[in-house]
Symmetry: C2
Subunit: 426 residues, 2 copies
């Protein structure tokens, strides 16, 4: 990949392209995953806002879609050029209209998914953020692929989704007369099929990324946060530490929760308990307030194991001096000393530095899905959803973000350059 090209184009201090038609990018020769920014940023400019620049000489440029390129559902988008933690801006995004066809239409695979497809049966909208790590490849693949996986998974169950109640048999054929009653008693609704499709799509996309990365000898992983509007509902699927919130005039409502080594401690410790060989004798499954050392040997020290929500004391043995499976707290918490998230896509080859210990077994690609019934919500003109990666939530609380976006709103209805990510209002 051409780091020079990336630096010239995106990093502060380098020459910034003037607004206008996109210039042809040099493509690296051997990579099947060329580095790129989200498609809807083509032709946009990036610069620090005047106010920021006067206040803070180190203000980083903000990029948003070019004027005149509106995103669906009045969505806005902004990204901040990376803080040089990594070579590339590893965050990626995707957004588009989602067209779900009925299988029997027999239409061939539609490559131009982002445009209207005439055979559409159900349509929705899709917004996604991918926060990459260890290189941009997984995030780029996810931005290119996840919506196709999702469309395929939805199309596989669309007959059930459009029924008043999903039939026990997809064919609609009733084997037992009381089949509808069984489905009713389980409380299975059409939205459960959409949740299932989102879960399957994330897993399918993860498999695709695994194959592509292996084939191309590339590496990396990413978190994934998806919002999808379909049949009057907003589905938010999250795998990682990004976050979506709903901002209304008198309410701020989280639409996702974060998955990190801290929030998923018990699941991760439980796995190491079941499969101790995953730690290869190099790590301890137990959590302590800090890494233990020789002086702690024989002392009774605070600890937690997989089955514990509370804390207790244990007498320190030699094996407790190993590096902890989960170490550090808050933003510093790391899984196997390596990764700050516990769900996401990719990372199939990721290993602890200088060892053969894999991280993938501890990572889940399946998202948690929350459903917002937009019709029941009695939506107002200025309701909006904010989706952002941890970079925003590390420095601003939900309430602070809500105050900020509310302050932009009144004079900002026509401006797609508003500086909040994935904003959607209706």
């Amino acid at each position: 990949m051409s780091a020079d090209w990336f630096r010239r184009r995106f990093l502060p201090g380098g020459p910034l392209p003037a607004p206008g038609p996109p210039r042809p990018r040099p493509r690296p020769r051997c990579s099947p995953v060329p580095y790129r920014r989200p498609r809807f940023l083509r032709g946009s400019s990036s610069s620090p806002s005047a106010a920021d620049a006067s206040r803070r000489p180190d203000a980083r440029p903000v990029r948003s879609p070019a004027r005149g390129r509106a995103l669906p559902w009045n969505a806005g988008y902004a990204e901040i050029i990376n803080a040089e933690k990594s070579e590339f801006n590893e965050d990626q995004a995707a957004c588009g209209k989602l067209c779900i066809r009925r299988y029997e239409f027999g239409v061939e695979e539609d490559q131009e998914w982002l445009t209207l497809c005439p055979e559409e049966f159900l349509t929705g909208h899709y917004w996604a953020l991918f926060d990459g790590h260890g290189g941009p490849a997984a995030a780029i693949l996810a931005a290119n692929t996840l919506h196709s996986c999702l469309r395929r998974q939805l199309e596989a169950v669309v007959e059930g989704m459009v029924a008043t109640q999903p039939p026990m048999h997809l064919s609609g054929h009733c084997v037992c007369p009381s089949d509808p009653q069984f489905v009713e008693e389980k409380g299975i609704r059409a939205e459960d099929l959409v949740i299932g499709a989102l879960e399957s799509a994330f897993q399918e996309c993860d498999e695709v990324i695994g194959r592509e990365l292996e084939a191309s000898g590339q590496a990396g992983g990413c978190t994934a946060l998806v919002a999808m509007s379909l049949q009057g509902k907003l589905y938010v699927a999250n795998a990682g530490d990004s976050r979506a919130i709903l901002v209304r005039r008198n309410e701020v409502r989280p639409l996702s929760s974060e998955f990190t080594p801290e929030t998923e401690r018990q699941r991760i410790q439980q796995l190491a308990f079941v499969y101790p060989e995953l730690l290869a004798g190099e790590f301890t499954r137990l959590e302590f307030p800090r890494r233990l050392k020789g002086d702690d040997l024989g002392q009774k020290v605070l600890f937690r194991d997989h089955h514990m929500s509370g804390w207790s004391y244990k007498c320190v043995e030699k094996s407790d001096l190993k590096y902890p499976l989960i170490h550090g707290q808050g933003r510093q918490a790391r899984l196997l000393g390596t990764l700050a998230v516990s769900r996401g896509l990719g990372d199939h080859q990721l290993r602890v530095l200088d060892t053969n210990i894999q991280l993938k077994p501890f990572l889940l690609s399946v998202p948690q899905v929350t459903v917002l019934d937009v019709d029941q919500l009695e939506p107002q003109e200025d309701d909006l959803v904010v989706m952002a990666t941890d970079g925003l939530w590390d420095v601003l609380s939900n309430e602070q973000v809500a105050r900020l976006v509310r302050s932009f709103l009144p004079g900002n209805q026509e401006d797609p350059h508003s500086q909040h990510q994935g904003r959607s209002s209706h």
Copy 2:
């Protein structure tokens, strides 16, 4: 065990003992776990209330502590004689003052735990309900044992509990100058040690029950719901499908959640995914709306696996026709066709009927603990906690129970015979 004695004493229609001093009970010769009712019911009578008897000829007798025998913290207690589902009233209960001593006092094991011990260092109160199944043995053992396990576990960490912040080392010795800072950053509070002690006590009690049942050739299991007041906080620990709620003048707040094959489906399916041999080829891990049969073969049918919150369709194969790991819904849901709860104590020998398939691996003895800061709550005179087994919650909602107990309150302050279980107010 003497079923005749039990029938004479407790079942409707048999002669009921008049209120007075307890009569000596015939003890079965070879059982180390003689059947008994909670200690504080000694000397009490049981009879259907006059109102109930006039309305419903099948009204079952209610038993509560004898007049003049008040329970701590103004607690009330009532139990309903069993509905002949099982030979015995398998529910048990315990209640008492909890005296936690410092180890260095060197006092020998205090057998009379339920009375005030002069060496007490910290005191609290303890209420517990145990809903037995497969015989009363586990519930009786739990009622006899769990408080001792809890006292022991609390005494093991009491030095940490009484510190402003639990020290990293129980000795108080600081190995690193920044140890308090590490503990602070992890957010470890004294109440986390109490939660840890409750978790450990449940596990210890489960091991004791396992040993005792094996030694005596008895069987059975029980759920466990514990409320403990200590240092201005109320801890509620729950393993099973009992429930505790807080009833206030303008609020009803659940203090526990239920653990059943339905609520713990993903954990249970995940275990069967990791250890398929636990199902011995007799069960399918997958969930379907009903048990599948030959006619479903080859059809696409609704299903859920361990990683799914939503539902999807799968093509039915022969292995899907096996009996489901979790089957039925609501009150009918069963684990391996056998058990309606997924957490509790005992059941070490429980096997699926006519097979060698064990249930214990799927059961957790560790409770979920919730903490109520009583001081922050600004408690009112008529606040109370209701603890009850599923028998109550199957027929009455939280709100209905709250309305009922509120209606008893005003004229009932002095009457320990009030018909709600484990009521505590202050």
